[in-house]
């Protein structure tokens, strides 16, 4: 793994910038995607992070790896994005609206057999597990929001989420 330390020495910086971009662009996008659930937005976020880094290159002094710096930047940027424009909320609303309005349309045509079986699996999850998984997956609530909502501990949310995904993985590998 390429590890660089942030030093804005004039000759090295351009190379460092380019190398970092090539090495970390994809994984940073993937990380951003887990928060934003939108590939294009994830990509834009990472672009902004690199642009900011370039702009601030003379003033920035960070005692960590470039990779750590970039990951933290993506993390904070995503959290702000979610808070500011309530991505999660609108995403959930869109999902519901589309789901409701286009259900008839979707049901008959959109889901290949795999999805149908997975939906059956989701329906058949233990009650609490089902509720927690749906809140996270479809309503895009954070673990802590779910914990508050259901007055349970975050640890319980983590455990139930893990369980749900394990069961889903099992049913998918059965089909595949």
């Amino acid at each position: 793994m390429t590890q660089y330390f942030l030093k804005s020495e004039k000759d090295g910086f351009k190379k460092l910038f380019e190398d970092s971009f090539n090495s970390f662009f994809d994984e940073l996008c993937r990380y951003a995607f887990t928060y934003l659930q939108d590939r294009e937005r994830a990509k834009d976020t990472v672009q902004v992070i690199f642009a900011k880094w370039w702009e601030k290159k003379d003033s920035i002094l960070i005692q960590q790896t470039v990779r750590g710096y970039l990951y933290s930047a993506v993390y904070h940027h995503c959290l702000n994005a979610i808070r500011d424009d309530k991505v999660r909320k609108s995403y959930a609303e869109n999902y519901k609206r589309t789901e409701a309005e286009a259900r008839e349309f979707v049901d008959t045509v959109c889901y290949e057999e795999v999805d149908f079986k997975i939906r059956q699996t989701i329906e058949s999850l233990p009650r609490q597990c089902h509720i927690i998984f749906c809140k996270s997956r479809f309503e895009n609530m954070t673990y802590s929001q779910i914990a508050t909502d259901l007055t349970i501990s975050i640890k319980t949310v983590e455990t139930q989420m893990t369980k749900a995904l394990k069961i889903l993985r099992g049913s998918i590998s059965e089909i595949a």
């Binding site: 793994m1 004039k10 910086f13 351009k14 910038f17 971009f21 090539n22 662009f25 994809d26 993937r30 990380y31 887990t34 939108d38 590939r39 294009e40 937005r41 994830a42 990509k43 834009d44 990472v46 672009q47 902004v48 690199f50 642009a51 370039w54 702009e55 290159k57 750590g68 990951y71 993506v74 993390y75 995503c78 869109n94 999902y95 589309t98 309005e101 286009a102 008839e104 349309f105 979707v106 008959t108 045509v109 959109c110 795999v114 999805d115 079986k117 997975i118 996270s136 997956r137 954070t142 673990y143 983590e158 455990t159 989420m161 893990t162 995904l165 889903l168 993985r169 998918i172 590998s173």
Partner: protein, 332 residues
């Protein structure tokens, strides 16, 4: 990073659910890259999170366009070679202007209508014809082996769908929300009308038949207005549009349920019936294909139509699953 994070199913789940801290995400990415087994386990869980839909999972992010934007930025904001306070101010002004420009670039990128990562609803059909309503109550009849895609933002301001194959649209009239069909590299725009779009990859054309109203077919260079009763053809190779003053209504029979045969050969009738009913028609006696007849059908079954044909032309037919055998002597 010194903190060691144990990567297990719980952490992977957390990551997929958008809960991972930067160090956790790094640990996970490293862990996935470490062995094939790890990668397999991660992909399985990712697939589960995506509910089996792994269409975009493996795809890497296209970094070329992003790098281009960043290069433009780095050219205009050069590295500081020497500290000269006289230049600092103008540099700052340039930086502010650039921020504005780059902000605009990013904005316009995210605002692209064809942004691929919107939540898309895909209607796909193989052996059946789908007669459905879109969220705006536009009727769409999707022919066999065709695919229609629209985003979850559909019907917000512009109603956009993209098509592969053939589809008949009866568009709900909404003057302030144009309805746009993207096929291949062209678009077809309407306000409220009924028309059929067919992308024919064998002939390398896109054909639009308008049964009601007016539509516009266009690409970045050219456009074509098509009125009811006319059809427009776009040649994908030459990138030219052509207007035809009429079309065979039987071409949209699969959607309208209407056939108008006037002195039509049995060969052509069979082609239309095959298309609409999804059957294969065989002639035991090839000469029968030359028989001609005139008749109009509306929402009739295949059996009914064959009965009329056999009575008129003095032929016999047999339906076996998806095949129809037509037999008989020459028609009088």
């Amino acid at each position: 990073m010194n903190a060691v994070h144990k990567v297990d199913e719980e952490l992977i789940t957390k990551y997929l659910a958008g809960e991972a801290l930067p160090e956790e995400a790094m640990a996970l990415h490293d862990w996935v890259a470490k062995s094939e087994d790890n990668k397999r386990m991660f992909l399985q869980l990712e697939r589960a999170w995506n509910l089996g839909n792994d269409a975009h999972v493996a795809e890497s992010y296209d970094k070329e366009p992003v790098w281009k934007n960043l290069s433009a930025l780095s050219e205009q904001l050069p590295l500081r070679e020497k500290r000269n306070s006289y230049f600092t101010l103008s540099r700052m002004a340039a930086a502010v202007a650039l921020l504005f420009i780059s902000g605009w670039v990013i904005y316009s990128l995210t605002d692209r209508k064809d942004r691929p990562s919107n939540e898309f609803i895909v209607s796909k059909t193989k052996v059946t014809i789908l007669d459905q309503k879109l969220p705006d109550s536009t009727r769409v009849v999707l022919n066999r082996f065709s695919q229609l895609t629209f985003s979850n933002n559909f019907s917000k301001s512009v109603r956009e769908v993209s098509l592969v194959g053939e589809c008949y649209f009866d568009v709900a009239h909404k003057p302030d929300q144009p309805f746009i069909v993207t096929v291949d590299d062209i678009k077809i725009k309407v306000l409220g009308t009924a028309f059929n779009v067919k992308e024919d990859s064998t002939l390398s054309i896109v054909e639009t038949l308008v049964t009601r109203g007016v539509v516009m077919m266009y690409n970045i260079n050219d456009s074509l207005i098509i009125r009811a009763g006319e059809s427009g053809v776009y040649d994908k190779t030459t990138k030219n549009f052509k207007l035809l003053s009429n079309f065979d209504v039987n071409n949209v029979g699969y959607a309208t349920g209407k056939f108008e045969f006037s002195d039509t050969s049995l060969k052509d009738i069979a082609i239309h019936l095959e298309k609409v009913f999804g059957v294969k028609i065989y002639f035991e006696n090839p000469r029968l294909q030359a028989c001609r007849m005139s008749s109009t059908f509306e929402n009739n079954s295949l059996e009914f139509i064959l009965k009329i044909l056999s009575a008129t032309l003095n032929i016999t037919y047999e339906i076996k699953g998806n095949t129809v055998n037509i037999a008989g002597n020459d028609c009088q």
